[in-house]
């Protein structure tokens, strides 16, 4: 029933207490929110929990949401705040990070090459400091503008550009060192 409705209609219906409409919103945004959380937290179980909590919190606070504002930015901001809290909490409760397993595909040779490439990128990305990693995730996974990233992370747009540029430079530096260890 809700599959074909536009986002604003779904949000209005959710505001009126129609939880099934909120279920459709969750379905539409869960991958994007999860990708963001995974990029922030580097742990799949944590990212799943925060994704769940972000949609709960968004629903409970839905009356504070301005329908004229872009919904994705709002829900990403909630998720980013929860991730930040979780990272602080982790200082006292460290967990094993980076527990991804890649899915196989039909062509083993191509799969191996792709997996190796992704492992290299993932390892390098995860070794970046949080301040550089998170703008890269928001830019290249969530496809957000510099301004939207700045809004979500509460930093100026210029800082976002600098961190993305610097983050990529750091990644390239790591790849160069891998190729030429001397």
């Amino acid at each position: 029933m809700y599959r074909t409705q536009d986002e604003v209609s779904l949000l209005r219906a959710s505001l009126e207490g129609e939880t099934a409409a909120w279920g459709e919103i969750v379905m539409r945004y869960k991958d994007a929110v999860f990708g963001l959380c995974l990029g922030f937290l580097r742990n799949r179980a944590d990212a799943e929990d925060i994704t769940h909590d972000a949609f709960i919190r968004a629903y409970v606070n839905l009356r504070r949401y301005n329908l004229e504002r872009k919904f994705s930015t709002w829900v990403f901001t909630i998720a980013a705040n929860l991730c930040r809290n979780r990272l602080r909490y982790r200082r006292n409760h460290p967990v094993m990070e980076v527990d991804f397993e890649l899915e196989g595909s039909a062509d083993p040779a191509r799969t191996v090459a792709r997996e190796e490439r992704q492992v290299r990128v993932r390892t390098a990305l995860n070794s970046l400091p949080y301040a550089y990693r998170t703008p890269l995730v928001l830019r290249f996974y969530n496809d957000l503008s510099y301004k939207e990233i700045g809004d979500i992370l509460a930093i100026p747009e210029g800082t976002v550009k600098t961190r993305i540029h610097r983050g990529k430079a750091m990644l390239k530096e790591m790849f160069d060192k891998e190729r030429d260890p001397s």
Partner: protein
């Protein structure tokens, strides 16, 4: 080193980040049901501004009639509160806010005073504990120690907090204890509960 718009690294990053989500697709299946199950019958909170807007909105009965009812109700509560104030087991001006072990209704009414001045008292009965602390969003989840100076097993600390929403938990001899009985609500993350306290009746959940 140049970072042009068609940088192959951009595509590598996209591919890798998307693959991580694809790999987790199985565990994300059914998230909608889990979210709706957790929500239960909870409806979005209207908030103070929303309530005021609703109050100010035109109604069939007329706004003045509605305001008169609200005013009369407030006056009645004020009168009852004044009459009962001498019978309360504590004076609101002398005793700090109790977060643990006290009825939630009583703590809420005190919390709405000036917690920044009085401080919020975290109190926990833990008879055989050796070290007790509280961690929360107010301390960036860094431990704040509780003390039991008279050795009666009641551990306390007082923390000045501005109005807002705070998640917290106690750490008793290194063990997480997240369900303070007088918390306003609980949240469950990563398999553990945390308590939530609204100080001063405000706070932004986002």
């Amino acid at each position: 080193m140049t970072l042009d718009a068609r940088d192959p690294l951009d595509e590598l990053l996209r591919e890798t980040l998307r693959q991580d989500v694809v790999a987790a697709a199985e565990s994300l299946a059914g998230l909608e049901e889990r979210v709706l199950g957790s929500l239960g019958d909870r409806l979005p909170k209207r908030g103070i501004l929303g309530s005021l807007r609703a109050l100010a909105a035109p109604t069939r009965g007329g706004r003045w009639g509605q305001l008169a009812v609200v005013g009369a109700t407030a006056a009645a509560f004020l009168l009852v509160g004044t009459l009962l104030s001498d019978r309360l087991p504590f004076s609101r001006h002398e005793e700090p806010l109790l977060l643990g072990g006290a009825p939630a209704a009583a703590t809420k009414s005190v919390a709405s005073q000036s917690p920044a001045e009085n401080g919020v008292l975290f109190i926990l009965p833990a008879l055989n504990a050796r070290v007790v602390s509280v961690v929360g969003s107010f301390s960036e989840w860094e431990p704040v120690p509780l003390s039991d100076d008279d050795g009666d097993g009641i551990w306390t600390t007082q923390i000045p907090l501005p109005p807002g929403r705070y998640e917290y938990a106690f750490i008793i001899d290194g063990r997480w204890w997240g369900q303070d009985p007088s918390a306003d609500e609980y949240v469950r993350s990563f398999g553990e509960y945390s308590s939530v306290r609204y100080v001063g009746g405000g706070g932004d959940g986002a």
